[in-house]
Symmetry: C2
Subunit: 578 residues, 2 copies
């Protein structure tokens, strides 16, 4: 029991020197990678750079205690940082104490929601984010993030939470471009793209091992940071208008509780819920991918608690919302991390950086950080998924397109809410006209097939309708309409059989519909039968009066139904002839 809620107890017991060494090496590599990322994502969220470092210390320790993935690396990530900026940007001005307080409160509320969902085992709620919606959302977020960073590359002031606002703001400032900033920004971006695409194959060509080449290539941003910082310091570019990170307070963050302002909490609640769910879905899918490679298991419900604890820890140490990040988790995995201790060691690394390195990043240009963000997020943009989804399913495509368009045009929150709403509606719509077929007997067999597709035996006084979907409120009335239509068209009809081999559920609405069908068919002189009802569905029906009132019978197999009803029919015909 205790081990379930404290996964650290499972791996700490078997911890030894070998795992310690592996974890330490991985932690060192992840630390180097995480420093520029955490600074950059803090700026993306509209926060001072040091807040990114703060969000990369305690949250990692909390996850190491409560998380179930051996290799997930938590911290600030792009999409969640964008969502933070959108949520907090509505309430306070960037740079104010209120803005920081709101971001911290957001992390706290989000952490609380995640822990609560974990305790109530509601990880399942994340399922309402369908894949096309999350994929469309990440693509659109990537585009917005990249666009929002252009201002740092160009060296102008411009902001907005949707694509149009951002582009308009940029457009109006094009005459204020700062040339040295532009040179740094474009060079850094080009360099990082080159590192991402070309460096690894080149290193391998030079005889470096593939894994090492991969890790070196992932450290590209560090090189860009060092080079541009030195250049800015050496050439005093900050005096020529290049914006730099500037003074970052040295020292660890203090611990304090976030603001408990009821108004603020209410305003942030929906945003926190969205951030929680999006962050959880991203994180759990990374964790599952990595766990499967080593045949390990993660527990989604405990992951909620782990991520929740991380966010609470982030809030307590002056940070902002965090979650498991894709690229850094892959680096952690590839670098050989074996337990969550690697995360705790990374936290120590970042803490040392906070104590020692902050004076060194005074001259780090914001343009460089923007370049690292742009290169990272453009890899998230996957417009080809639109084509793939279109080919497979039009309604999934519609949900995806709506998510992308609304996220770009109206912002992240409306985009994801509309996407979720639409995918639910489309699913209900899709099942509201279920596939159904009138079936007849394949001559000489016990099989029954669609009369439109096969040459089968039917009987004009007996009609069998097979429905290939669970019966529930969204399609209950459709079933009624379909049956009344059939009966109205076939005046000789005496028996209607509903064949239910694919009916996994009959809810209360569908039960009412079946009762209405039974009643109305009785009024029209038609008996209503069921066949091939599944065990669990039948158990439910037995609790009601429906079976007592049913004018017909429930047949175990459609063949039984056919034999009983068509024999009665033959007997009647014979009697009539005599």
């Amino acid at each position: 029991m205790l081990e379930r809620y404290l996964p650290i107890l499972q791996w700490l017991r078997v911890y030894n020197r070998s795992t310690f060494t592996s974890d330490l090496v991985a932690a060192l590599i992840v630390t180097i990678m995480l420093i520029p990322q955490s600074l950059a994502y803090a700026l993306l969220a509209g926060l001072p750079a040091e807040v990114g470092l703060y969000a990369s210390i305690l949250p990692l320790v909390a996850y190491a205690i409560f998380g179930t993935s051996r290799t997930l690396a938590v911290g600030p990530v792009a999409v969640v940082s964008l969502m933070t900026a959108a949520a907090v940007g509505n309430l306070a001005l960037q740079g104010t104490a209120e803005y920081l307080a709101a971001a911290t409160a957001l992390a706290f509320i989000s952490g609380g929601i995640l822990i609560l969902m974990g305790l109530m085992r509601l990880g399942i709620l994340a399922n309402f984010l369908s894949h096309p919606v999350i994929s469309g959302f990440i693509t659109a977020s990537g585009i917005i993030i990249a666009a929002s960073q252009l201002k740092h590359i160009l060296g102008v002031d411009a902001s907005g939470h949707n694509l149009l606002d951002i582009l308009l703001a940029l457009g109006s400032k094009l005459n204020q471009i700062n040339l040295p900033t532009l040179v740094i920004g474009v060079t850094a971006t080009a360099f990082l793209f080159w590192v991402r695409k070309q460096l690894k194959p080149m290193l391998i060509n030079f005889g470096m091992g593939e894994r090492l080449a991969d890790i070196v290539a992932k450290a590209g941003p560090v090189l860009a940071v060092v080079a541009t910082t030195v250049a800015t310091w050496g050439l005093s570019l900050d005096e020529q208008g290049v914006k730099v990170v500037g003074t970052v307070p040295t020292g660890l963050p203090g611990l304090h509780l976030p603001s408990f302002d009821a108004d603020l909490w209410q305003q942030l609640f929906v945003s926190a819920l969205l951030i929680s769910v999006v962050g959880f879905v991203e994180s759990v899918s990374v964790a599952q991918t990595l766990a499967a490679k080593r045949r390990q298991r993660i527990s989604p419900d405990q992951e909620l608690i782990g991520l929740g604890a991380s966010n609470v820890a982030s809030a307590a140490s002056g940070g902002f919302p965090v979650t498991g990040g894709f690229s850094r988790s892959v680096v952690n995995f590839d670098a050989g991390a074996e337990t969550p201790a690697a995360g705790a060691f990374t936290a120590v690394g970042i803490a040392i950086a906070t104590l020692v390195l902050t004076p060194l990043i005074f001259f780090l240009p914001k343009a460089t950080l923007a370049a690292t963000i742009i290169v990272a997020v453009l890899s998230l943009v996957d417009l080809s998924a639109l084509k793939r989804t279109w080919d497979y399913s039009r309604s999934d495509f519609a949900a995806m397109l709506a998510t992308i368009v609304l996220t770009l045009v109206e912002g992240v929150e409306l985009g994801i809410i509309a996407g979720v709403g639409l995918s639910v509606l489309l699913y209900l719509y899709r099942t509201s006209k279920p596939h159904s077929a009138i079936v007849g007997r394949v001559p000489g067999t016990q099989h029954f097939r669609n009369v439109d597709r096969f040459d089968v035996e039917t009987c004009k006084r007996v009609l069998t309708l097979r429905v290939d979907e669970s019966l529930y409120f969204a399609n209950a009335r459709y079933l009624e309409d379909r049956i009344y239509d059939l009966v109205a068209k076939q005046p000789e009809l005496e028996h209607l059989v509903l064949m239910c081999p694919a009916v996994n559920l009959i809810d209360a609405s569908a039960l009412e519909s079946l009762e209405a069908i039974n009643q109305r068919l009785q009024d029209s002189g038609v008996r209503f039968h069921l066949s091939e009802v599944k065990g669990p569905v039948m158990d439910k029906l037995k609790l009601t009066h429906f079976l007592d009132e049913l004018t017909g019978e429930v047949f175990l197999s459609q063949y039984d139904a056919w034999q009983t009803l068509s024999k009665a029919e033959q007997a009647k015909t014979v009697a009539a002839i005599r």
Copy 2:
């Protein structure tokens, strides 16, 4: 084509003297019943009494032209009138010109929505109102309506849109009760209850035919109206504080377009949408019940157009939202109406009443109208449905209870929205953990059954999981979790077969999950197979790369899978022994 959109063309062609006589008799009876109802429901909606009459003329003619039910009687109904009061009450004060204008605009917008839904064949949208939600909503509305009429019985001023407000307002006015009003109100209510419960059996005892007895009993309200009006006039009770209908303008309503105020339309849109859907669901279920009794058909999509035209007609003639009413349609049917012409004749009857009778209702006490409303709506209240639904399905019960409680506490609009939202969420939740079973072979047969329930053959290197639900976004991740769990628990596993006989759909999210499962099982050295995939599902999968990437095979039957995989297994074992 023309006949589809103008159903009148179908029946007018075969119209003759016999149908004319039947329709005329039915119309006469319905007219007598409709007069007090339309006055009462106008008061319930917070409107002047004559507006009820106006809403019972042109709308009936419009329905006769565009509707598909032969016997549906449209006009003001209780629940829609309550919803009108709730919607308009937020925007204007009762008794003002703005209030009337808003009610008329509401009918117009609602009519437009219904016509649009009909043209787009979106009758299916009404399906999102599950039966427990609509039944709970009507029960709660009945309670609110009855409570809201108590002020007329007590002769005090008090109002509110939810039960608590109404009861508190009444409570604070108990010292202002008007005794003559109370006497009239209680007597009328008691009389009407007696009529409803006792009169019909008594008349039958006296030798009256059942159908006639039923119709006479349904005319009870008319008797109460006449008696209390005469008493009020004779005893000058209006001078003792009994509130009467008072001066009602004589003459037909003028035709005019409703207000096209964009702000007003925006404020009324959601209310109009809810009224449209609720009205449609009530009406179409009455129409279907009656049509089935004569083996007739109605077309739900054309019904939308018919009801939409009625509401537009109501708006154009100064009325408020209308729909098909249950009790008056049953009376119309029982009285022998054969075509929608009966409705048109009823319209003529009401028009004559508007021209001639209005001076006679000056002394009609509002308490009498309140009594007719109370007796009518209390028959809608069905708390026993709560028990029945609880017995059948806990999640349907939860949706129903939430609808009732929220409607009573927060009002009609929030009640129905929450009910719909909750029933959708609960459905998704219910299918998000689908029933699934590990299956094995029943020895000596080709059948495969749940290993937990049957004594079946299994093989530790081959595992077969049968899932009894369509695979879509709400359960895709659950499937992943379940499979990773199974694989992590069984280290010898080499083959995993997913058996899909009950999978009616695989959406894009589930496809991604299957791809992830395939990939991750490959990483763990397990081949992934499918069996018994349905034709339409397989057709979809063939459009993707999934089948190319699948590490295993797709078997037509589970028996094929068993034979192929366990034979390979045996061969391997034999080879290993040699």
